[in-house]
């Protein structure tokens, strides 16, 4: 009776209402942060999975979500698709059948990534981590940094209690802006985390746990706090401190706290001067701050400690070309990479660009040709090739190449501007105008291109339009002497064309 009386008190009722509204608001905020594809909430099992996940019961969360995804998969999978069938069987825990199906697929195509992942997963379930590592290394040979393969090999290393190697694999996977290709990788992560968290406190690999939470942070930003706490614990206990500093730095970096991020990355490189990923992150952070010199120094250091990793070679080449413009050094690096690493369309495209920037157009055309032989859809190679043909005066080929690029990506402004430049050189002003106008309409906002278009109006004797255009350009670039001079020319010609005189 006394309790009922308390609820009659309007102040208490108001207080309870406020508390409920606030609790609902914060619960909604928490769930809204989650990626609905990784942590769905549209069935009872998914609700159970989410609750377990939020409470930190990762193995129970994985089991509940496995059932949820299995039910969803049954509903939407294509019955004739081999990959779908393998995934469905894995989610149902019908590992034998999944293995049989994958092995049959591998007999037809031994490099089939999906089937290799399936047999890797089954080997892990059967507690054969060495087999998992063998299968995943086959994948990684032909598909560098394949995300699921790296995570599966990380789980295998956990089984072998080689936590350092497990951390390395997670670092390799997370250095790209991509995630898993199948949901079983996420479920496997939850399972592995659950297993690691059930270890006695003094045996827990804090740093590895921080790395797995780094992965979960992609789908749930609330993991950031956990990553920080685990990384700090790892540093305090001396558990792979360089990787822990790296994890901390990445957290700061995601929150735009670049000074703190940089301090963490530098601490990581101090702890382990051969930590390529920490060196790269330090370089990236310097780059974000606009410090191209230190960006180069650290990226070069990352490459030097890992010269056979195309990832670092590509990053360094990018810094050399686009930040420093040190084309001679970029050329040596790219030529060297082509001798020690598998040749790709992208590496030949880079070589083509470097030759072009060095003014060596014959070699540039050859390199772009190689890039296109390896990938007929390499859009940037078409753009570069068009530019090189223009420079050697082969305008017919330049036009054909730019048109091929337009066919490949009709909504990109780049080939239109390239084509406009060719027509400009050929004094085909009306054609140049069409291309400049299209390029600008498709998103090119470089004032130099607008001024070039204005010039074309003048060249084609459309002085009225030229005057308007140059005035617009001068609003964007008031100090541009070309626009000023050519505006004066266009105004003079406009007056003269109307029969007026100009002194």
């Amino acid at each position: 009776m006394k309790t009922a009386g308390v609820f009659k008190n309007p102040r208490i009722r108001l207080a309870i209402a406020i508390v409920l509204v606030l609790a609902g608001f914060f619960a909604q905020q928490r769930v809204a942060q989650l990626d609905p594809e990784a942590f769905p909430l549209n069935s009872l099992r998914s609700l159970e999975g989410l609750t377990h996940y939020l409470l930190g019961n990762y193995q129970a969360a994985s089991a509940a979500y496995r059932d949820h995804f299995s039910a969803v998969h049954k509903q939407y999978a294509l019955p004739t698709n081999d990959d779908d069938e393998q995934l469905g069987l894995l989610l149902e825990k019908n590992y034998k059948k999944a293995q049989l199906l994958a092995k049959a697929a591998l007999e037809r195509d031994p490099s089939d990534t999906f089937s290799l992942l399936t047999v890797s997963e089954v080997a892990l379930v059967e507690n054969k981590p060495d087999e998992t590592l063998a299968f995943t290394s086959t994948i990684l040979k032909h598909e560098i940094d394949q995300f699921d393969a790296l995570f599966l090999s990380s789980f295998a290393f956990v089984r072998k209690q080689n936590y350092g190697a497990a951390i390395d694999r997670v670092n390799l996977a997370l250095r790209h802006s991509r995630v898993q290709s199948r949901v079983t990788t996420l479920l496997g992560t939850l399972d592995t985390m659950g297993a690691l968290e059930s270890l006695p406190t003094d045996q827990r690999p804090w740093c590895l746990l921080a790395q797995y939470h780094r992965y979960l942070r992609i789908f749930d930003p609330a993991n950031a706090k956990t990553v920080r706490a685990l990384a700090e614990k790892a540093i305090a206990t001396g558990d792979h401190p360089a990787d822990a500093y790296l994890a901390l730095g990445i957290l700061y970096s995601k929150k735009w706290q670049t000074d703190e991020a940089l301090a963490s990355f530098l601490q990581a490189t101090k702890t382990d001067p051969n930590h390529a990923e920490a060196l790269r992150w330090a370089a990236v952070t310097y780059g974000k701050r606009g410090d191209a010199r230190n960006e180069y120094i650290f990226m070069k250091a990352a490459y030097d400690v890992s010269p056979h990793d195309s990832f670092y070679a590509n990053w360094l080449a990018d810094v050399l070309m686009h930040k420093l413009g040190d084309y001679q050094q970029a050329l040596s690096l790219t030529l060297n990479s082509l001798t020690v690493l598998p040749a790709t369309s992208d590496s030949y495209e880079r070589l083509g660009e470097i030759y072009s920037l060095l003014g060596n157009y014959a070699d540039s055309i050859k390199a772009y040709g190689s890039a296109l032989r390896l990938n007929r859809k390499n859009f940037n190679a078409y753009l570069g090739l068009g530019g090189s043909f223009r420079e050697i005066g082969n305008t017919e080929e330049a036009i054909r190449t730019y048109k091929a690029a337009i066919a490949l990506r009709p909504y990109s402004w780049y080939p239109h501007i390239g084509l406009a430049n060719v027509y400009h050189g050929l004094s085909r002003y009306n054609d140049a105008i069409i291309e400049y106008e299209q390029g600008i309409a498709l998103g090119n906002n470089d004032p130099a291109q607008l001024i070039a278009l204005c010039g074309m109006y003048g060249e084609s004797s459309r002085f009225n339009k030229a005057v308007e255009c140059f005035k617009k350009a001068l609003q964007i670039r008031p100090n541009d002497v070309t626009a000023r001079k050519r505006l004066a020319d266009a105004e003079k010609n406009l007056v003269l064309s109307r029969g007026g005189g100009v002194e």
């Binding site: 929150k255 735009w256 706290q257 606009g290 191209a292 420093l324 003014g359 020319d489």
Partner: protein
């Protein structure tokens, strides 16, 4: 009735607070640490006003003595603070909005940087920087930073401040940005083969009409990358439009000795003619015509070179050729008319 007035009063104070925060973050007054406390107190006052407003909306809740008296005092003090800040920010607002002074770009350096993120479900940031004072280099000035500015700044970074004198002579800052010029120069000094910072610096100097520096940097660029003519074509096109003929000659003459290029020949030829080396200039312009006989520009340049160097009669065939390629070109028709008038006997004028 009294309750409604009180509610209106709180809403007014809340609006005044929000406006004051906007003024302080838009028209920033650099100063000592004490001055920087103003926005912080302002934000605190805003929060307090918001709480008071919520309490007012929950009008049925009665507050008993002695809390009631305390509550009244808090309300009064807060209102007094806000009105004082409102007046101060009114001054800051007028100082900036009525300011007709010329923008002054002042170099400085970041000596310290700070701030944090407050998470109310939605993250809110506040940042500040201590800058080496431009008024007395031994002191520092504290300035609030916007998130977009914070991302590009770090301790030790050279910066440029857009400083305004202010209508009431209270200096205020509209932007703070990295001193790219200083940084590009440092990179070039350390890594001479780095062409991007040199090109960027050249474009900056072109915009600022610093022609001597443009020439020096372009010469350096061509020394390291002699085969890439794209850059030098662009630079000399701007120089030509700015009538900087001696710089064009200095840049293109060495290139023309080894490279056969229409634009190099054309611009160099015209520039040579305009700097007193007419015969050599004409030769280069003729070479340009041989390379691209359907392009009217070199004929036009030859014609103008003759006009500007005192031999207008010799320009006639070139201007006529221009009109063959580009019929009805008004300025060339006009030029031919003028040359014709100059040749007519005095009686005909």
């Amino acid at each position: 009735m009294a309750g409604r007035h009180a509610l209106t009063g709180h809403l007014f104070l809340l609006g005044l607070c929000s406006w004051a925060i906007y003024v302080q973050t838009t028209y920033r007054i650099p100063g000592g640490h004490l001055l920087f406390l103003l926005p912080a107190v302002n934000i605190a006052a805003t929060c307090l006003t918001l709480i008071l407003l919520i309490l007012r909306l929950m009008g049925s809740v009665s507050i008993e003595e002695p809390l009631h008296t305390l509550f009244r005092w808090v309300q009064l003090t807060n209102s007094a603070f806000i009105v004082a800040f409102g007046l101060y920010n009114g001054l800051v607002f007028i100082n900036a909005r009525w300011d007709m002074s010329t923008l002054n770009t002042v170099p400085s350096k970041i000596t310290d940087i700070g701030g944090n993120e407050i998470d109310f479900g939605y993250p809110m940031h506040y940042f500040w920087a201590d800058l080496q004072s431009w008024r007395s280099p031994k002191n520092t000035e504290r300035l609030m930073l916007r998130l977009s500015e914070r991302e590009n700044l770090w301790v030790g970074r050279p910066v440029l401040l857009q400083l305004h004198a202010g209508y009431f002579h209270i200096p205020w800052v509209s932007a703070i940005e990295p001193n790219r010029e200083r940084e590009w120069l440092d990179i070039i000094n350390d890594i001479p083969t780095a062409s991007r910072p040199r090109q960027n610096l050249t474009y900056l100097y072109l915009e600022q009409h610093r022609w001597e520096e443009v020439k020096r940097l372009s010469e350096q660029q061509m020394k390291f990358y002699p085969n890439n003519l794209v850059f030098i074509r662009y630079v000399t096109a701007v120089l030509l439009n700015a009538y900087r003929y001696s710089e064009i000659v200095a840049l293109l003459e060495p290139i023309a000795k080894t490279k056969s290029d229409y634009q190099v020949y054309g611009k160099l030829g015209f520039a040579l003619a305009m700097t007193g080396r007419k015969a050599e200039g004409m030769k280069y312009l003729e070479s340009a015509i041989l390379k691209e006989p359907r392009n009217y520009w070199a004929y036009s340049a030859l014609g103008y070179a003759h006009v500007y160097t005192g031999t207008p009669k010799n320009a006639v065939p070139y201007f006529k050729r221009v009109l063959e390629i580009r019929p009805g070109f008004p300025e060339v028709q006009d030029m031919l008319r003028k040359i014709g008038a100059a040749e007519s006997p005095p009686s005909a004028r």
